[in-house]
């Protein structure tokens, strides 16, 4: 429905083997920073430096990468088998020593250790083609974290760097599929690494990454790959031509975190009441304009992680709106409807404030829908949207009633539940917690998590995961609303083989390491 239909008009000077990618945003100019350990690095550093394994956070699948695999002889030991035949882009051989060097680098420079792997690692040993990591405590899932988030850098270059914490690595040398091409402050290109260890899987010879990628740009300038939510995507993106398609799989669960230190939100009946009163479909529709599905109350992403789902939970965990049932729950908690208001014994109306961040507009729209629905059963709901920094602070300090937030989607089931439920994160209100902001604490659940942490047997893992889903379903530590999308926009004009609902082999994200999966899976359309 477009009165002025914008048409995609790709720049004819961009050849067929070159891909235009909206992956990196300058502010508004690019700073030439390819240090993979910095928060402000160029995104293409992810295409140049590779992890030991690539974890697809959509379906929690591990892909062996610089390591051909790892074994866990006991819950506190990991042995990585290092891939042979990999060379750095300057021709030097990649070895286990490089992996060891990288681990040591992060130990020596804690400020570079953004994922905090050294909070798990105790020591490590470098073998000829293995690296063995000893953890400080038994922790099976830590292997995945260490393996998937640590980008390996070449020792022969980084050993001479004076201060790696500020070094901008202007001429990056990595093992990845791409090397740096032309760099200008408003756009840079990366070129295919012809000596890449799986060079035959890489179809695109060049990637162009402009510094500004407004939605208008993306729609009109013939981008091949972008990661962005576009309103009315069919009208604005698909109809713009250029064989555009899109795939918006769930990348996490958007949920409302109740503050469990506050009455009456510490009453599970109140939470159940609030949860049952919601029409999640409408909330998701309002927030994501109908592109995302309502989320089940299990902390599992569907359909991608369907095989983890606890089959005993009814309806795949999806709660349908049921006002009568909600009122029953409220009655159990001592709340009754009076004159359209939900009041407790003393006649005070149930009132709460939902905190969300300014500028997170999909959340805001969702919250407004929640406000409407809860208002309809007589709850007085206020909405606050402070700046992101203040929102983060409120969340971490536990100074809120209900807060919007994202949960799950790390690609590691244990971590998804641990972050949400473990009492290890719990801090008193006023002190910053880094996870479990709702401050859920249950010794029984802690026990399940402890078992999970050391479980090596997949059967046992699955069983524990089922128990945890039941906990989330019954105790409502967070009220799941809808899935947060991964907004993949693709064009089939030059390259095909994009991830899709039919072939959900990877997340459509353009940043972090999953793009490696995509970049090694594409095929050129005109192979001449």
């Amino acid at each position: 429905a477009c009165s002025i239909q914008i048409q995609s008009a790709p720049d004819p000077s961009i050849p067929d083997d070159t891909m235009l990618v909206a992956a990196d945003n300058g502010s508004p100019l690019f700073e030439k920073n390819f240090n993979p350990f910095m928060i402000n690095k160029r995104v293409a550093a992810f295409y140049m430096y590779e992890p030991l394994i690539v974890l697809d956070n959509l379906n929690a699948e591990e892909h062996p990468w610089l390591s051909t695999g790892y074994t866990q002889p006991d819950p506190s030991t990991i042995v990585f088998a290092i891939r042979d035949g990999v060379t750095w882009s300057d021709g030097e051989d990649f070895t286990a020593a490089d992996v060891g060097f990288t681990f040591q680098l992060l130990k020596d420079n804690p400020s570079l250790d953004l994922q905090g792997i050294w909070s798990y690692i105790d020591t490590f040993e470098v073998g000829t083609d293995t690296v063995t990591v000893h953890l400080t405590a038994p922790d099976v899932p830590a292997a995945q974290l260490i393996a998937s988030t640590t980008l390996i850098v070449p020792e022969h270059i980084w050993a001479d760097v004076e201060d790696p914490t500020t070094w901008r690595n202007p001429e990056p040398v990595g093992t990845g599929p791409y090397t740096l091409g032309n760099f200008a402050p408003q756009q840079y290109t990366v070129d295919k690494n012809q000596d890449y260890w799986q060079a035959d899987t890489v179809a695109a010879e060049h990637l162009i990454l402009p510094a500004t990628n407004t939605q208008l740009d993306v729609a009109t300038k013939g981008y091949d790959w972008a990661y962005s939510f576009i309103s009315d995507v069919d009208g604005a993106w698909v109809d713009a031509g250029n064989q555009n398609t899109y795939w918006f799989p769930p990348g996490g669960t958007i949920a409302l975190f109740p503050n469990l230190t506050k009455a009456p939100f510490n009453d599970v009946n109140v939470r159940q009441g609030l949860s049952t009163a919601l029409d999640r479909g409408m909330v998701g529709d309002a927030a994501a304009e109908g592109y995302m599905d309502p989320a089940g109350q299990t902390n599992i992403l569907l359909p991608n992680q369907a095989d983890v789902l606890n089959p005993e939970i009814p309806d795949s965990g999806l709660i349908t709106q049921d006002t009568a049932k909600a009122l029953e729950y409220f009655a159990a908690a001592g709340y009754t409807q009076q004159g359209g208001k939900l009041v407790d014994a003393s006649g005070t109306q149930l009132s709460l404030t939902i905190t969300t961040a300014a500028g997170y507009n999909d959340w805001l729209k969702g919250v407004q829908e929640v406000q409407k629905q809860w208002g309809a059963i007589g709850v007085d709901v206020k909405v606050e949207s402070p700046q992101p920094a203040a929102y983060t602070l409120a969340l971490r300090n536990g100074e809120y009633d209900f807060a919007m937030g994202a949960t799950g989607g790390t690609g590691n089931t244990f971590r998804d539940f641990n972050n949400l439920l473990s009492s290890e994160w719990v801090k008193p209100v006023g002190e910053e917690a880094s996870n479990n902001f709702e401050r859920f604490s249950d010794p029984a659940v802690d026990e399940i998590l402890a078992d999970y942490k050391v479980a090596l047997d997949p059967e046992e893992q699955a069983d524990l995961a089922n128990q945890l889903q039941q906990v989330v379903y019954d105790q409502i530590p967070s009220i799941s609303l809808y899935y947060g999308g991964s907004w993949g926009l693709f064009s089939n004009a030059k390259f095909t083989g994009w991830p899709s609902a039919d072939d959900p082999y990877a997340s459509p994200k353009t940043y972090e390491s999953t793009p490696l999966l995509v970049l090694t899976n594409l095929k050129k359309v005109n192979d001449d």
């Binding site: 002025i4 914008i6 008009a9 300058g26 502010s27 508004p28 100019l29 700073e31 920073n33 910095m38 928060i39 402000n40 956070n57 804690p110 400020s111 570079l112 250790d113 953004l114 994922q115 905090g116 050294w118 909070s119 914490t165 500020t166 901008r168 032309n182 200008a184 402050p185 408003q186 756009q187 402009p210 510094a211 500004t212 407004t214 208008l216 740009d217 009109t220 996490g252 961040a357 500028g359 997170y360 402070p386 700046q387 992101p388 920094a389 203040a390 929102y391 983060t392 602070l393 937030g405 994202a406 949960t407 989607g409 790390t410 971590r415 972050n419 910053e432 880094s434 996870n435 972090e512």
Partner: protein, 326 residues
């Protein structure tokens, strides 16, 4: 002499207070720079405690109590070394500012001057031809255009001239592959990219100058020296320009001074819409990311340039108005 000393004292006091306010403003905002960075990261997934610690270490988030920070800041002000930006870590504030400043100065500065000159001329014409279409058209169109919201004008221009008609580039200060240098080619490229933002500022600021000049000029037109000049049969052009306009422009210089001082602050909304790499864009990023070092430096720069611009206008006043010469 006592008068001058007092003025200078007041100037210094204002400067100090402004500098101090600039220090306090960012710190009055809730949350720290690390929280802002975390909030950004959290959009991509949960963030651990270790991450926060690493971020804080990376950014060098200020340590010490507020008094120590204040003195460290004063030291920075004096040495003009504002350290490393949080948002754009590891770039230094100096690096960032010196990269952004030229574009803002040229774009906003040039347009401000052009708008002032053009608006003033149109205002003179309107007042001189009072009651004719030369008066009513510029004043009505001017007051209408000056009521346009900046960003709205920017968006419309961007959409129609940029995307529909594809006449001008839609973002950036120069072509995507260009490397900034002093060549003729680059200059032309930069000029081409500046057209739309410049047009936006021109459209929305022109009206104010037209109206201001028209009103003061109508007042001076009634002054006795204008009547006397007419009685002496001077050429209408001479009367309009050298008598009426020449005197009418003086009061408008003060506004011009403030506007010029504001140039350094850039035009946040316009730069935002056009992704123009100027100070305004930097400022917006700094503020929304609680980038203390960058914010402090930018605020200081803006404050000082407003003070200096006012000072220069005072001097110009002295040159243009013999009455103030002492």
């Amino acid at each position: 002499m006592g008068f001058v000393a007092r003025k200078l004292g007041l100037f210094a006091l204002t400067l100090w207070a402004a500098v101090t306010v600039n220090f306090l403003l960012p710190r009055l905002m809730p949350g720290t720079p690390a929280d802002a960075a975390l909030a950004k990261l959290a959009q991509n997934g949960p963030v651990t405690e270790a991450t926060k610690a690493a971020i804080e270490a990376q950014l060098g988030v200020p340590t010490g109590n507020i008094v120590e920070q204040y003195f460290a800041y004063l030291h920075q002000v004096v040495t003009l070394d504002f350290g490393i930006s949080y948002t754009f870590y590891p770039q230094s504030v100096g690096e960032l500012v010196s990269a952004a400043l030229p574009y803002t100065l040229v774009l906003v500065g040039l347009v401000t001057v052009v708008a002032f000159i053009l608006g003033t001329l149109l205002g003179v014409l309107a007042a001189w031809k009072r009651g004719t279409w030369l008066d009513s058209v510029p004043t009505l169109v001017g007051s209408f255009m000056s009521a346009f919201p900046y960003f709205w004008t920017a968006l419309l221009l961007l959409f129609f001239a940029g995307y529909v008609l594809r006449l001008f580039p839609t973002s950036g200060a120069y072509g995507p592959t260009a490397q900034p240098n002093l060549s003729f080619e680059f200059f032309g490229d930069a000029l081409y990219h500046g057209v739309l933002p410049a047009l936006t500022i021109l459209i929305t600021s022109l009206g104010g100058w037209i109206l201001g000049m028209r009103n003061t000029m109508i007042s001076t037109l009634g002054d006795d020296y204008v009547t006397f000049a007419e009685a002496n049969g001077l050429k209408p052009r001479t009367i309009a320009l050298r008598y009426a306009a020449r005197n009418a422009i003086l009061p408008n210089l003060t506004s011009f001074g403030l506007a010029l001082g504001g140039v350094v602050g850039g035009s946040i909304l316009v730069e935002q819409v056009f992704g123009y790499p100027g100070i305004g864009y930097l400022l917006f990023n700094a503020v929304t990311n609680q980038d203390y070092p960058l914010m402090q430096a930018l605020f200081l720069m803006i404050t000082v340039s407003v003070l200096i611009a006012n000072f220069l206008v005072d001097i110009l006043y002295g040159v243009l108005d013999p009455r103030t010469r002492r």
